[in-house]
Symmetry: C2
Subunit: 104 residues, 2 copies
């Protein structure tokens, strides 16, 4: 499996992170990841096809929001929580809480 | 001057707010408003033309992020801080703090 690119957190810009999060499906993905440890691609509870899901996961990965780790023939996805909190304190935390409490 | 539309805060969706904020110029506008009370349109310190600034302010107003109040021949702009904090606690606060501390 080809190695996946992840931006260094210090190169990530706030507008890029917000662009990645500004989508109802991606907000649901991020909220699910915030509740869980790591999730394998096929286990997300979102009403989209696998190819659309893959696109959304790519957008979030390229924005520095999540890390993808190949494990055999699967990929595990997890939020880069500590790195994001260090660079943009409270942003990911408040947004994932807001997803849980409101319609997105 | 024509009355300006402002959405009810309970109708505002998180993805709409994040879409409005996911732009470097609009992040600067919001950070300036967070530091000040209300700002008249021509006083924003952003490197764009007045017509582009007006567009950005309209996007933020329609997303429920700011309130525009006509005052004579001017318009005063202020964040809808309390309403946004009530609906999405910590989101606007953490984002405006992050703008101040990082490149956007």
């Amino acid at each position: 499996m080809r190695a996946l690119q992840h931006p260094a957190v210090e190169d990530v810009e706030l507008s890029t992170v917000l662009t990645a999060l500004a989508d109802p499906v991606r907000l649901r993905i991020v909220a699910e990841l915030a509740r869980s440890g790591g999730i394998v691609c096929g286990q997300f509870d979102v009403p989209v096809s696998m190819s659309t899901l893959s696109h959304h996961l790519k957008v979030l990965r390229e924005a520095g929001v999540l890390r993808v780790t190949p494990q055999g023939s699967y990929r595990t996805h997890e939020l880069r929580w500590e790195e994001m909190e260090r660079r943009f304190p409270g942003v990911l935390d408040s947004i994932t809480r807001a997803v849980t409490h409101t319609a997105v």
